[in-house]
């Protein structure tokens, strides 16, 4: 359906997008995840036709859209701060795109009620959009975007302007809405939780490229590089040096680690970054490989679980989630499962944009 190839764009003299490419299938909800200022909104604006890329193409059903102005593309867009028309009431805001289509009044009224009902705002017809709360504005903005039945729906940080509790509620609603509207969706956010909640597929944007694309579970459990791991909040990392290839053993500050999880391509003696995705706390007396002594350095109550900081083998700081309380200073034994260690060769950062 949608195919984006090699988008490039500079912003204030600096490269912002350096060859962004991806495709989007019908019915797919893809989430573009990046840090603030990473250019994700710009990608949406280019797809919508609001901005022109310096090079690259946006292709819809085989047709190059470069010369099609935004109002002829038939896409839907929900802006971060909603951009509702302040001079129009709720009904007219939602009807705006339908009026352009010259829908007969009956049909128009019907369609507006339909989408307003969908977002649970059917009693707001005559209300001025100025008086709406943030959550209400968001619903109206969504209704306005989907009312003309767009071929593609783009959401630019739709939760950005809302507070946390409201966000959780609206995220559920939005998930439901995206399920019932069977249009392809590109959802842009910097919040990984949000991305995991709504997306069928996650695309991580870094240094002007899509560095990783895949199902949320895949991306989370197999970050493609150490930057992505950190970005996803996976911070149990350390560096090491390959001491043996078969079996794979890496020397680390806490001692040699056995790893049973590698795709190959490593050299003996090579320096690598390690990501540890799981750490288990042992029952006393366990003699499994990769077992270490650790000291509890901090405990944070999360509501049900505890986020526990550990100092492993007196050198490595790691954080794990436990279901029980351990006093600070407690000595415990931990095991790092050999399947839960990922190796990343050094300097495997993506090539930068050409200036």
């Amino acid at each position: 359906m949608l195919k984006v190839t090699g988008l490039e764009k500079h912003y204030e003299g600096k490269p912002l997008l350096c060859g962004v490419s991806f495709t989007l299938a019908a019915d797919e909800t893809a989430c573009l995840l990046a840090r603030s200022g990473g250019g994700k909104s710009t990608i949406l604006r280019i797809i919508a036709g609001l901005e022109q890329a310096e090079s690259g193409q946006v292709i819809w059903d085989g047709q190059d859209l470069t010369d099609i102005p935004p109002h002829r593309r038939g896409f839907g867009f929900m802006f971060q701060d909603y951009a509702l028309f302040p001079h129009l009431n709720v009904f007219e805001n939602v009807a705006f795109g339908l009026r352009v289509q010259k829908l007969p009044p009956e049909e128009l009224r019907e369609r507006v009620s339909e989408v307003l009902e969908m977002v649970g705002m059917e009693s707001f017809y005559e209300r001025s959009v100025i008086d709406l709360s943030g959550g209400e504005k968001q619903r109206i903005a969504f209704a306005r975007a989907i009312a003309p039945s767009p071929k593609l729906l783009m959401l630019d940080e739709p939760m950005g302007a809302l507070d946390r509790t409201l966000r959780d509620q609206l995220l559920k609603d939005l998930q439901r809405l995206l399920d019932v509207t069977d249009v392809p969706v590109i959802y842009v956010t910097h919040d990984q939780e949000e991305a995991f909640a709504v997306a069928d597929r996650i695309m991580i944007l870094h240094d002007g490229h899509v560095v990783q694309s895949g199902k949320p579970q895949e991306v989370y459990s197999h970050p493609i590089n150490i930057w992505t791991a950190s970005f996803l909040g996976l911070n149990n990392q350390m560096d090491g040096k390959v001491s043996s290839l078969d079996p794979l053993i890496v020397d680390t500050p806490i001692g040699p680690l056995h790893i049973r999880n590698h795709a190959g391509g490593l050299l003996a003696g090579e320096r690598v970054d390690l990501l540890v995705t799981d750490i288990s706390v042992n029952q006393a007396g366990s003699e499994a490989p990769n077992s270490f002594s650790a000291e509890v350095t901090a405990q944070r109550f999360l509501g049900r679980d505890y986020q526990t900081s550990l100092l492993v083998a007196n050198t490595w700081n790691a954080v794990i989630t436990l279901d029980r309380f351990l006093p600070v200073g407690e000595q415990i034994l931990i095991t790092i499962p050999p399947v839960s260690i990922y190796t990343y060769t050094r300097g495997e950062t993506h090539e930068n944009c050409q200036e």
């Binding site: 102005p69 935004p70 109002h71 795109g97 352009v100 306005r144 003309p148």
Partner: protein
């Protein structure tokens, strides 16, 4: 934006500029005489509706650009983007979204323009349009020529009533506009013209602006700094400072035995005094009304009244209040600066108030907790924060006083003229020398205002937080 310069230009300068361009000794006539070897100036625009309208367009365009342009700049471009994505063509987007959103500012600019032209005085008087007299000019004529203070007073009352009505209408419109809900974005709404058509449009409008704004002022400056070489009216021109030298020459035969530079000195002194008075009262009002919304709304109306009232009405009021009394003798030196400061006051308050209100109250609380006494707050916190707006307000009030003509015509004595009054008189006198002096003085006034304007623009650019 340079288009705001005319806004603070004194009426006499504008009139002088149009005189230098279109007057009997103005450029266009001189050029036509030369090309067609005429002995008489072919164009007689003085006292015609055309030149009066043209001079007002000069003022009004800047008001319009200022008011509507500011609103447009603040319009979030995403609102237009949203319309475009909802399949609305650029033209339709303009009609259905942009225009409705700008409507309040357009109406408010129209009201402002109406008010300014309604109370227009100096331009009409100086461009010889007595038969097109506005109420202001009529008040002036009734007062100074027929000494009919009763009729003048009645006209002033009617005028006042009208002005207040329009001012209130404007205020009501302001509140009814979408301004508060529109996201305030300074200059984010500005976009580069992208396509050739857009660029062509921008260039055309720019040229049009240059014609309306720059040409008259350039004509004034060149007419004042160039003299005809000997050899008749159709002769060539050369640069000369003779007109400026004449201002400072102490000619005993000068008008009322007052050399022009005395008028310059008088104006500077008055302007300085008016500035001090306006600033003191302005600060007092802004700080005094504080954050209480009710007091502020009452104060607002009171302070803004002089803006609605015309300078002529103000001058007449002062004249009636003080004339013939002993007080006149004592107060006379203060009358003009006080009247000027009253005219400048609305501007001063409007400039300082937002700056003071923008100081978050927790900033005061933070300072108090850190051990600053309430008394010191003003000196340690508020004053440094509003330093730049204060300078802006000072320049504004100085420039307003320097160029004030309406009220001054009622209050100035023949032997103590101000610069605009002297310019008016010299334009009324026959002779090339007097014409030259009037032009030179206008250029000085223009230069002073332009300098002030440049400083203000510079201050606003370097303004950190806002």
């Amino acid at each position: 934006m340079a288009s705001t310069l005319p806004f603070i230009l004194p009426t006499v300068v504008v009139a002088a500029a149009f005189n230098a361009l279109l007057g009997t000794s103005g450029w266009i006539n001189l050029l036509l005489m030369r090309i067609f070897s005429l002995s008489q100036p072919p164009i007689q625009v003085f006292g015609t509706l055309g030149v009066i309208v043209l001079a007002h367009v000069f003022y009004n365009t800047s008001i319009f650009i200022r008011v509507v342009g500011t609103a447009w700049e603040r319009l979030d471009p995403k609102i237009e983007d949203a319309a475009r994505i909802l399949s609305s063509s650029p033209w339709r987007t303009f009609l259905r979204v942009t225009l409705p959103l700008l409507l309040p500012s357009i109406v408010s600019a129209m009201l402002l323009v109406f008010l300014f032209d309604f109370t227009s005085f100096g331009v009409i008087l100086l461009l010889g349009g007595v038969q097109f007299a506005t109420m202001e000019v009529e008040i002036y004529i009734q007062t100074t020529q027929f000494l009919n203070l009763k009729l003048a007073g009645f006209l002033a009352l009617v005028q006042l009533l009208f002005s207040i009505m329009i001012t209130y209408l404007g205020k009501w419109l302001d509140e009814a506009s979408f301004a508060p809900i529109m996201p305030v974005m300074s200059e984010k709404g500005l976009r580069e013209p992208a396509t050739f058509r857009k660029k062509a449009f921008v260039v055309t409008m720019g040229l049009l602006l240059v014609v309306i704004m720059v040409v008259p002022l350039a004509a004034l400056i060149l007419r004042a700094t160039m003299v005809q070489t000997v050899g008749g009216s159709a002769g060539a021109f050369r640069f000369s400072s003779i007109n400026f030298q004449r201002i400072f020459a102490n000619e005993r035969d000068a008008l009322f035995f007052v050399p022009p530079f005395i008028a310059l000195r008088n104006s500077a002194l008055y302007a300085f005094a008016a500035m001090l008075i306006a600033l003191s009262i302005g600060i007092f009002i802004v700080v005094g009304s504080g954050r209480s919304t009710r007091i502020r709304s009452i104060m607002d109306t009171m302070v803004m009244l002089p803006l609605g009232t015309s300078a002529v009405t103000l001058g007449l009021g002062y004249l009636i209040a003080f004339s013939g009394s002993r007080a006149m003798v004592v107060f006379y030196p203060f009358l003009i600066p006080v009247a000027h400061s009253l005219i400048a006051l609305p501007f001063v308050v409007r400039i300082i108030q937002p700056a003071i209100n923008a100081i978050p109250s927790n900033q005061h609380e933070a300072a108090v907790v850190l051990g600053v006494s309430q008394k010191k707050l003003w000196w340690m916190l508020d004053l440094p924060i509003i330093r730049k707006p204060l300078i802006t307000a000072a320049i504004y009030s100085f420039a307003i006083s320097l160029g004030e003509f309406g009220a001054t015509t009622f209050l100035s004595r023949p032997e103590i003229p101000t610069l605009p009054v002297a310019i008016f008189r010299y334009f009324g006198l026959p002779g090339r020398e007097n014409y030259g002096k009037a032009l030179a003085m206008s250029v000085i006034l223009l230069a002073a205002c332009a300098a002030g304007f440049l400083i203000i623009e510079n201050l606003q650019e370097t303004q950190g937080l806002d």
